[in-house]
């Protein structure tokens, strides 16, 4: 756990250096993939229910990070879409260039890409289709990819593949997350797969590859994954 946090810090120190001269108060936001109270390591087998489980992939788009103070918006970041990838440490830290003296007590963001962006053609950066988060056979972003294995899954090779996407009503899959914060310099947000796994039916819904009711339901369950860690 400590090693993971240290590695993230090293990447982040490099970013903080860029802010040293700017007239902003950098707020560091770190994302830590979790399996319950443990740090999540991809490929590691964890005991689960009366069996075991292993995560192989966890990626999601987070967009529109905002800070509030007493329900009033005090900061919106200029980079709007980020691809968070448990396999790529460089994506797990974000530095917000908040104006000095800004107080805030809560943070919000969306999981996923909004519908307007979904119909606006090809985008670049984290939204580039080469990132593997855009459907080829039907237009639209994949908001989350959660993949792993558990003997409880009846799919081939006991895999579960949850590719959550879709922007059209009534099965849009963008979700809002709001978190209260009490620190102001270094926020650690845990992305805990456990709540999502607990809500997943590994017999009926071990493979979600298209927009629809199953994806929408899974998106609902994904909101509980995010929490502020002390």
């Amino acid at each position: 756990m400590l090693r993971r946090v240290l590695m993230v810090f090293i990447v982040v120190l490099m970013r903080l250096a860029a802010f040293a001269q700017k007239d902003a108060r950098p707020v560091l936001v770190c994302f830590l993939p979790q399996m319950g109270n443990d740090s999540l390591h991809l490929g590691k087998t964890y005991p689960w229910l009366n069996s075991t489980i292993q995560m192989d992939r966890m990626r999601c788009y987070l967009s529109g990070m905002r800070l509030y103070y007493q329900h009033k918006l005090v900061y919106t970041e200029s980079i709007t879409y980020r691809l968070i990838d448990a396999e790529d440490i460089s994506t797990l830290s974000v530095v917000l260039a908040v104006p000095p003296q800004t107080r805030f007590d809560s943070l919000s963001f969306s999981i996923g890409v909004d519908s307007t962006t979904n119909v606006s053609g090809v985008m670049g950066g984290d939204l580039d289709p080469t990132k593997g988060m855009y459907w080829t056979w039907q237009s639209g972003y994949i908001n989350m990819k959660i993949e792993g294995k558990t003997p409880l899954s009846t799919a081939r090779l006991h895999e579960f593949l949850l590719h959550i996407g879709g922007y059209a009503w009534p099965y849009a899959t963008v979700r809002q997350v709001g978190l209260k914060v009490d620190k102001t310099e270094h926020l650690v947000i845990g992305i805990d797969v456990l709540p999502l796994l607990q809500a997943t039916d590994f017999i009926k819904n071990n493979s979600i590859m298209v927009p629809g009711a199953a994806a929408a339901s899974c998106a609902n369950n994904a909101v509980a994954m995010f929490r502020i860690l002390p």
């Binding site: 053609g121 289709p129 593997g132 237009s139």
Partner: protein
């Protein structure tokens, strides 16, 4: 004086690095405004050229044998002539007929079932399809970044040599929007071009067309870009249910995109599965072959009543939609000077 000289030198250097001059889409007279949002991807000649090279380059496919042109050949109005269902990599046969590509800047949804909601992202579908190019967009971009030719083309088009999915797809979209067909005999007649007139048959056919076909195949695009069930019986070897596969709505069952009829002389065979080899068979379908299902287009609840002579006249008119300038336009053809210098 010295300052002025320095300024002029800087200006000269700066200007030499500006990308290719902007160009505008030549919208034919009287046509509606294009749907494609050019403000997000303004036309530039170097980007159009890059897009054209990519369109003709089999580098997009897993084994470098299949390019866009494999199913969308310029001489047959950018379709795969004489194939009911197209074949792709290793001769694998797909499930649908290749649509003719023209006037794409006026489209809203692409593919027979409207799966693609923007022209920029259309190439992702054939690139990834296992029966077409069987490849991955990220692997294509890796190949482009390794290619000295493409690095040069990207510098000209985008200012530096880095190929990305976004840049590649935007360049292809730019080329595809330039494929405008609006100079058929029909167009000349409607513009009152000197020395061009419909024959008596063609004129009669045009009247019949306006009466029986134009509600879906609306001028000047010869499609209203909507989806309809035109009474085709389900082919049980394919069981293609059309747009419902994308929207999940029962009202979209058996509905397919209304294709343009421009250049239809060259785009046989016809329909989403290429079941009709000749225009005669198409017209026959509308006069005696319509199958009634729940989602059948309201305009086709009665069969189209045409006498034998009227059927011939209608086809005579459809042949006036052939645009030779379009199919032989060197700007749309194989970029020999780049790919085979």
């Amino acid at each position: 004086m010295k300052k002025l000289l320095v300024l002029m030198i800087f200006a000269a250097i700066a200007l030499s690095f500006t990308p290719g001059k902007g160009t505008r889409l030549p919208v034919p007279a009287g046509w509606p405004a294009p749907v494609y949002d050019f403000s997000k991807n303004p036309l530039q000649s170097d980007k159009i050229l890059l897009g054209r090279v990519l369109f003709y380059d089999p580098i997009l496919s897993a084994d470098s044998t299949i390019s866009c042109v494999s199913c969308h050949l310029s001489y047959s109005a950018f379709t795969h002539i004489d194939h009911a269902l197209s074949h792709g990599i290793n001769g694998r046969i797909g499930t649908r007929n290749s649509p003719a590509l023209m006037n794409l800047a006026w489209g809203k949804l692409y593919m027979w079932d409207g799966a693609i909601n923007h022209l920029d992202v259309q190439p992702l579908a054939p690139i990834a399809h296992p029966d077409e190019m069987a490849y991955r967009i990220d692997s294509v971009v890796i190949r482009l970044n390794r290619s000295p030719l493409y690095r040069k083309l990207f510098v000209k088009a985008w200012g530096d040599s880095v190929a990305t999915g976004e840049r590649m797809l935007k360049s292809m979209a730019q080329f595809m929007t330039t494929l405008i067909s609006a100079e058929s005999k029909y167009d000349s007649v409607l513009r009152s071009a000197p020395g061009v007139a419909f024959t008596a048959q063609e004129a009669k056919g045009y009247q019949l067309f306006r009466q029986h076909c134009a509600s879906c195949h609306t001028e000047p695009l010869f499609t209203n870009n909507n989806f309809a069930n035109n009474g085709l019986a389900v082919d049980t070897t394919l069981n293609d249910v059309g747009r419902i596969k994308i929207t999940g709505k029962a009202s979209d069952s058996l509905k397919f995109k209304i294709p343009t009829l421009r250049n239809c002389e060259l785009t046989y065979p016809y329909m989403h599965d290429g079941r009709f080899k000749t225009l005669r068979e198409v017209v026959q379908h509308y006069t005696t072959g319509i199958q009634h299902t729940a989602t059948l287009a309201p305009q086709l609840q009665q069969s189209v009543p045409l006498t034998a002579n009227e059927r011939v006249d209608l086809i005579a008119f459809l042949l006036t939609l052939t645009d030779k300038k379009f199919i032989f336009n060197p700007n749309f053809g194989f970029p020999k000077e780049i790919l085979m210098p």
